[in-house]
């Protein structure tokens, strides 16, 4: 067991190195001289030289690469050129907003998606199945900013139930009111994903022999679904939700933009607009590490939940 956990964690290291290499190459692919891009073509040669030295661009490429990897592995993700703060400081400042948003979205997705997917699987090819499939297909088709704008129009502009802009005033109540629409927006997209996965996984489990045996033994349908089928069906759902984590983060960027909330999305767009390439590179590294971490944890959780996964 311990071996499995350690092995899985060791496996993350080459993946991380690969990802760092890709980011390194990607950043070097930017056409033109980064120093000129940053300072503009009016900058003096002196200033350009200083910036190149500061960014390490005057070093041979393999030195730059080695330096980049070593610094990242020691936890130094670089600094924002605009504010001078480290990337991790910048991220830490907005992370609570994004976590609050994505966590509530996951919660909404699980609360609605699991029962909906289960119902669809039980009534396979009957109207509840068709209805839930159509609804989840529509949910999957919404780019997050489109659904966000439509919700904003309906509930904030027309009905005036929620504030149109930002995290809205002070106090817990105002804070929560401002969270409702963005969380619902992300949550409904998440619901669509979770419904689909739960349905597919449940269909697989319901075809298993032990379900037929349990039914033959006279286990009540309710108990059969809850105790026997759903518990096993949820295992792949956990993995897939882990895989959709990236999509969730991507959609939260668009959601934050529409509802003008602070968060990682705003941070990225800010870095983009001010051409803060060091911050952008640092954010890429942060995201990549985070995604690899979530994948590793999901895999380990999968192993813990399902004893059938071989630890060897």
């Amino acid at each position: 067991m311990i071996h499995y956990v350690i092995r899985r964690m060791l496996l993350a290291i080459p993946t991380l190195l690969l990802m760092l290499t890709v980011i390194f190459v990607l950043v070097r692919l930017v056409p033109g001289d980064p120093a000129i891009t940053i300072l503009g073509d009016q900058a003096s040669e002196d200033a350009l030289q200083r910036l190149r030295a500061q960014l390490g661009l005057d070093q041979p490429i393999y030195v730059q690469y080695f330096d980049f990897v070593m610094r990242t592995l020691s936890g130094d993700f670089g600094r924002s050129m605009a504010t001078g703060r480290t990337v991790l400081q910048e991220v830490a400042a907005v992370l609570p907003y994004t976590i609050e948003l994505t966590a509530s979205a996951l919660l909404i997705g699980a609360i609605i998606g699991v029962p909906l997917g289960t119902t669809a699987a039980i009534y396979r090819n009957l109207w509840p199945d068709y209805a839930s499939r159509l609804v989840s297909l529509i949910g999957l088709s919404f780019p997050a900013f489109v659904s966000g704008i439509l919700m904003l129009l309906a509930f904030a502009v027309n009905l005036r139930w929620f504030p149109v802009i930002g995290s809205g005033g002070s106090g817990l109540e105002a804070h929560l009111r401002a969270l409702v629409l963005p969380a619902l927006n992300l949550g409904l997209i998440m619901t669509a994903y979770i419904t689909r996965v739960t349905r597919a996984s449940m269909l697989n489990v319901l075809n298993e022999d032990y379900i037929r045996t349990a039914r033959a033994k006279g286990v009540r349908p309710n108990r059969l679904i809850r105790r026997h089928a759903l518990r096993n069906a949820l295992i792949p759902v956990i993995t897939v939700v882990g895989l959709y984590f990236g999509t969730l983060v991507g959609n939260s960027v668009l959601t934050e933009m529409v509802f003008s909330r602070p968060g990682l999305g705003k941070l990225i767009l800010g870095a983009l607009n001010s051409r803060d390439y060091t911050l952008l590179q640092g954010l890429m590294v942060t995201f990549a590490s985070f995604v690899i971490l979530v994948n590793t944890v999901t895999d380990i959780a999968y192993g813990l939940v399902d004893p059938r996964v071989k630890y060897s």
Binding site: P14, T15, L18, M19, V22, L26, V27, L29, V30, P31, N125, L134, L137, I138, L140, S141, F142, P143, A144, F145, V146, I149, L150, L152, L153, V157, V164, A200, L243, F245, G246, T247, V249, G250, N251, V253, L254, M257, V258, I268, L269, L272, L280, M284, F287, A288, V291, I292, V294, N295
Partner: protein
């Protein structure tokens, strides 16, 4: 020497499954309308999509401007019709590139095997789990906003699934007798991969392509909304929403019309992708 892509019997089972899927026809019909309006845009559009007219700015829908006008007095309906061209062309070309490059990587990786295969696959795993939008956003930001760069950015983000789909059958195919026979006859590796392995998985790759085109169009719209799409004044749906969003409080139609257009296009492609997958995979087929 090539094995037939699929036997006639399998083909007809595929068509029967696809034809009997009523939802699929809704997708086909929707998509047909969108493609039609993209192809014949100059003949259908009631106005010039770029023609500005300050006297007609921000007009609500009327009989002359069916979907109203934007901040510059341009006709929203005409821009919507022309905007379908960008979405479809970017989505299609990006997926085509992702399909060609991705399946080439997959076949190569499966064919060579060993350490190379393991390295490539773990890289693709990371790419698969990395947020598509963020990756696209960063690539587009690094390359700069233009039509070609947008296509490149989306193609890179959508490559991984194709590599995966192409790799699995390659591994089982390369052990089959007909590949061994080809090798004995002195065929080069590239000929074996291109002429003998590729045709055997083409249908799967194409189905995956249809499924991911929806995602590509969604990404295109999202990047345009962020401001990294095809630069103005070219009408794009994401860009129209971006502009319309500024006037959301008094001119709602500016953001809502392109929103509906994106939603319907992605929905049509998703329905179609689902139907194709169900038709090709008997396990999920509705009996």
């Amino acid at each position: 020497m090539t094995i037939a892509t699929s036997s006639p019997r399998r083909q007809s089972a595929f068509w029967m499954a696809f034809r009997s899927n009523r939802l699929a026809w809704l997708g086909v019909a929707l998509l047909a309308i969108i493609v039609f309006s993209a192809v014949f845009a100059p003949w259908i559009a009631p106005h010039d999509p770029l023609q500005q007219n300050i006297l007609h700015r921000l007009q609500p829908p009327s009989s002359e401007f069916l979907l109203g006008t934007d901040t510059y007095g341009r006709d929203v309906l005409s821009r919507l019709i022309y905007g379908s061209r960008v979405s479809l062309v970017v989505g299609f070309v990006a997926i085509l590139i992702a399909m060609v490059v991705g399946s080439a990587i997959g076949i190569l990786s499966g064919f060579i095997g060993g350490v190379f295969d393991r390295v490539v696959m773990s890289l693709l795993d990371v790419m698969l789990s990395f947020p598509t939008l963020l990756l696209g956003l960063m690539i587009a930001a690094m390359l700069g906003a233009s039509f070609e760069n947008l296509i490149i950015a989306i193609a890179i983000t959508e490559m991984a699934p194709f590599a995966r789909v192409a790799r699995a059958p390659t591994i089982s195919l390369k052990q089959r007798d007909f590949i061994e026979a080809g090798r004995a006859m002195g065929f080069s590796d590239s000929r074996l991969m291109g002429r003998h392995i590729l045709p055997n998985m083409l249908s799967e790759v194409v189905v995956v392509g249809s499924m991911w085109m929806a995602s590509a169009i969604r990404t295109e719209a999202s990047l345009s909304f962020i401001g990294l799409g095809v630069p103005p004044p070219t009408p794009t749906w994401g860009g129209m929403i971006r502009e319309g969003f500024e006037n959301i409080l008094d001119s709602w139609w500016l953001a809502v019309c392109p929103s509906v257009a994106i939603l319907l296009t992605v929905l049509a492609l998703n329905i179609l992708g689902d139907a194709l997958r169900d038709a090709i995979d008997p396990k999920t087929r509705v009996e």
